[in-house]
Amino acid sequence: MHQLESTDTVMESRLESQSAIGQSAVGIPSSKLGMWVFLSGEVLIFGGLIITCVLFRLSYPQWHEFSGETNALTGSINTFVLITGSFTIVLAHKMVDQGNLKSAYLYIFLTIISGLLFLAIKAIEYAGEIEHGYNFHSGPFWAFYYGLTGFHAVHVFTGTVINTVVLILISRRKKPGNPSSLVENAGLFWHFVDIVWVFLLPLFYLS
Amino acid sequence: MWPKDISAYGYWVDDTMILVSVITVAVAILSFVIIVYSLIAFRQSRNMQATRRLGAISKLVYLDVVLLVLDIVIVSFSSIGWSHVIQGRNELIKEHKNYVETRVIGRQFFWSFVYPGLDRKFGTNDDFTLGNYLVVPVDTTVILTLTSGDVIHSLFIPNLRVKYDAVPGRETTEWFIAKRVGDYPITCTQLCGSGHFMMQARLKVVKKDEYERFLNNYKVWLEEQNSKSEYTAYGEYNHN
């Protein structure tokens, strides 16, 4: 295993075209490191939103009455959709590592579909709530609800676009890195979006 | 330099200020002496070859650090004392029963001071409100309950060394004991809009019996005040 690590480091680090010695100093490819730095920032953005929401919740004992109004069904379905999306993109990464690009394309494609499905369901859900006359002005719960889920939906959209670009890049064989790290980084973002949703589900739908 | 202290607890501020200033100035002077000396002594024309060893200087630096630590200790201890004074508010109110309470409402750009009237209870119909005019009895615990009608204001009474924000949607309390009769300024120190700098009020510290007279019939009292002083306060009528 350790043997594998080290050779792997060599293979990766050949790609550090900005480093004078052509390799990463800590053995982590820069692209992955940058992705993780970006994600740690994202953790604080969503975390800030979520803890603010929780603080408001703690000061509103009747919060659950609002969260009962949201459409728990679509929320739950969307959870399954996102988890499946994470599953497929990580399988795509595995396939790329095993050199099986054909099925990698398939899995990335499935992930894109899952993202679009999520957005479609979300749109239906919003339509329903607006029909019931809930909007930004219907009190803090709904402001938080639209704010956070909307911001999350933007991330889902971005992730879908990223996955599409990755699919095009690696299927056209024009790889600006090795396809493995490309798919892996796209996957990291997608999993992060998934994790955020995992917390939004109990916050707005279930309890 | 700074306005005269008329508060029972203002000495906390003044003594800490003097103490910290003395030590801080000492630290500053020592540091600057070291720096200036080394600039003169070790300029290139005088000291061609730099050497890495330090020598005796380290002792002076210890002194510098010691002074700084002393400064830090004093500051944090005075903070302990002060936080006892601030947080001991409730106990302190318990121990002197006879405090007077006044409600303060900040609005763009004036202060309203709501007095409970003779019955010392709010919400009764002998409450009355004065604009920009705070009247308190001397040698008595005064509790101000601050809130705001629009944006955040901050009630600053320099002579009493107290300052607290009036935040919309919540009530903050400030308390003091004024030690000498007189007429003092009140300002707003939190940017609250274009009229921020005009948001001035007066603090009037009066004898206890005069305070009773004031509560009893504030209109008459205001008349004689305005006839005496150049500052004219205007009353508002009972608003509840």
């Binding site: 075209s17 603010t52 402001a143 | 200020m17 540091s31 600057f32 070859q49 949607g169 921020h196």
Partner: protein, 577 residues
């Protein structure tokens, strides 16, 4: 693979003008772009300051209305912090120093780097445009306290405010892109032999500043999102309305959770520049390299638990205020360590008084005053009295001005050869220093006394307040200083542009400095090392080593042809040494 890299290096040189100087991915060009944009902004904000200071001095004439006075104050603060300090220290100097000093060919993500500058440029455009909307720019202080800022009833300048908030978001985005680049580059692109404990102080400081900014600003991004919803959509997260109850204090918490680390973000890189200039101009190693590094890390960690000291009188729960006071006082310990180490670096040195050293020294001296007066505000006792008075203004001008403006000038005079391949004129540099330094002190020092006298900040006029009427002379004096300060920037501007085009050609290492960037040509070519590889053999500051005759310094690294290095195999330097 080597062949690919070398080819890439060869054919980057013949690019068109646009590709090379406007939309360039070269970190040095981006650094120059950041530098010039930030200096223009500094000029704008300085002129704003001189205008409203003139208003304060001549309180009878009304040069500004109270509204425009508030707007001018707000814009001065916001521009100086976000559009001058950040791009100067985080944008320009980190871009210039990090790749050269870690021996990389460029940033880890050059495209992202270029994007970061152009997003910053866009944010500048948006901010400028907010000056020309009908109701003028945002008037509520750079801290944007709601409800004043969140509620249409109180804010006259709604379009200006929305533009300001969007510009702020874009600026944060651009600085975050930069930060990702700096962190990744410093961690993973270090050249062979350059362990973390061999990094130059300034790179350490910029790395830590980038990390602190990344972790501090992101909650504020969320907060600004809420605030924009309040302003545009009319929700009430921070507003207090009859129907629903927002929380104005929540904004202050979120803002200062960012705001205090932000102070260190703009402070640490300045201290790093001071350290570099001190070492190379006293011909001595920095005293206590390790203690400076550890103290910096400690202060960065502590900076996240002190935000409450901005809120002692804000209605914050009193039980919070004592812990915050203690952490605040505690944070002055690592900084005193850093300052003592820098002071001892002068001792037994052989000091060259160039203009860059003068600026570093002035910055150091002024920052000592700033740091010490911080003790006054750190204690609740004095803060209750001094909060929101001119004492605070004087204090943070004594911390921010040295660490941003003076240190940046030191850095400009120091690294000018690496930016433009020429050196600046020393005589005019010294004139510039003395004018700036004296002007600054005349401007800032009297304000301490106005603060102790209880003069509240952001006051359009103090002559109508009886207990402040006699202190008008302080405003007049300090305005004189401010005008002097602005006036003495003209020699710098002329000197800068003349030197860019006809300054004296600089050799590779004009200051006889040790760190890696002086191994490269000045200015370095597009990928810095011309197919060579800098390999680190020494600690960063090997000045006047014992038993060294011909030269009084050992360079940190040596240049080796790449194929030799790559033939030796690929044992990456680990972080530990």
């Amino acid at each position: 693979m080597e062949s690919i890299i070398t080819i890439e290096d060869m054919h980057t040189e013949h690019q068109g003008f646009i590709r090379r100087y406007i939309f360039s991915t070269d970190h040095k060009v981006i650094a120059a772009q950041y530098l010039i944009t930030a200096l223009i902004w500094a000029l704008v904000a300085g002129l704003l300051a001189s205008i409203f200071r003139t208003q304060l001095a001549l309180s009878q004439k009304s040069i500004l209305t109270p509204e425009s006075y508030n707007a001018a104050v707000t814009m001065h603060g916001a521009i100086m912090i976000f559009w001058v300090a950040m791009p100067l220290l985080i944008g320009a100097f980190a871009n210039l120093c990090i790749p050269l000093m870690v021996g990389a060919k460029d940033m880890a993500f050059p495209g992202l780097n270029m994007l970061s500058y152009w997003v910053f440029f866009l944010s500048s455009i948006i901010l400028i445009s907010s000056f020309f909307v009908p109701s003028g720019p945002a008037p509520f202080g750079w801290t944007i306290y709601p409800p004043l800022s969140a509620d249409a009833r109180f804010t006259a300048a709604k379009p200006g405010e929305i533009l300001f908030l969007f510009a702020l978001l874009l600026e944060f985005a651009s600085m975050l892109m930069g930060g990702i680049n700096y962190i990744t580059t410093t961690i993973s692109l270090r050249t062979r032999g350059l362990g973390m404990m061999r990094l130059p102080i300034v790179v350490w400081m910029q790395l830590i500043a980038a990390l602190v900014f990344l972790f501090a600003v992101t909650p504020l991004v969320a907060g600004i999102g809420f605030l924009l919803l309040d302003v545009i959509v009319g929700t009430s997260f921070f507003r207090v309305t009859a129907q629903s109850q927002g929380d104005p204090l929540l904004w202050q918490h979120i803002f200062w959770f960012f705001g205090h680390p932000e102070v260190y973000v703009v402070l640490l890189p300045g201290l790093g520049i001071i350290a570099e200039v001190f070492a190379s101009h006293t011909r001595k190693p920095i005293f206590g390299y390790k203690s400076i590094v550890y103290a910096t890390i400690a202060s960065a960690v502590l900076s996240f638990v002190v935000w409450g000291h901005h809120m002692f009188v804000s209605g914050m729960n009193p039980s919070l205020s004592y812990p915050f006071a203690v952490t605040t006082i505690a944070i002055s310990v690592p900084f005193s360590v850093i300052l003592v180490c820098l002071a001892l670096t002068l001792w037994n040195g052989s000091i060259r008084f160039t203009s860059s050293f003068l600026f570093a020294l002035g910055s150091f001296a002024a920052f000592i005053i700033g740091g010490l007066t911080g003790l006054f505000l750190g204690s609740q006792v004095l803060d209750v009295y001094l909060h929101d008075t001119y004492f605070v203004i004087a204090h943070f001008h004594y911390t921010i001005f040295p660490s941003v403006i003076l240190a940046s000038f030191a850095g400009i005079y120091y690294w000018f050869p690496k930016l433009f391949g020429r050196t600046m004129n020393e005589f005019w540099g010294k004139v510039h220093f003395w004018g700036t330094f004296i002007g600054f002190n005349v401007f800032a020092f009297p304000l301490f006394f106005l603060g102790i006298a209880g003069g509240p900040r952001r006051y359009y006029d103090i002559t109508h307040i009886d207990y402040l009427r006699h202190f008008q002379w302080i405003h007049i004096l300090s305005t004189t200083g401010a005008v002097l300060l602005i006036a003495f920037q003209t020699p710098f501007i002329i000197n800068f542009f003349v030197s860019v085009f006809r300054g004296k050609q600089a050799e590779r290492n004009p200051w006889k400095a040790t760190t890696l960037e002086w191994l490269a040509e000045s200015p370095p070519p597009h990928r810095n090392w011309n197919g060579m590889v800098p390999v680190v053999v020494n600690d960063p500051y090997e000045y006047s080593p014992e038993g060294e005759e011909e030269e009084d310094f050992k360079p940190q690294g040596i240049l080796i042809p790449r194929d030799e290095v790559l033939r030796e195999g690929t044992n990456a330097p680990t972080g530990k040494h």
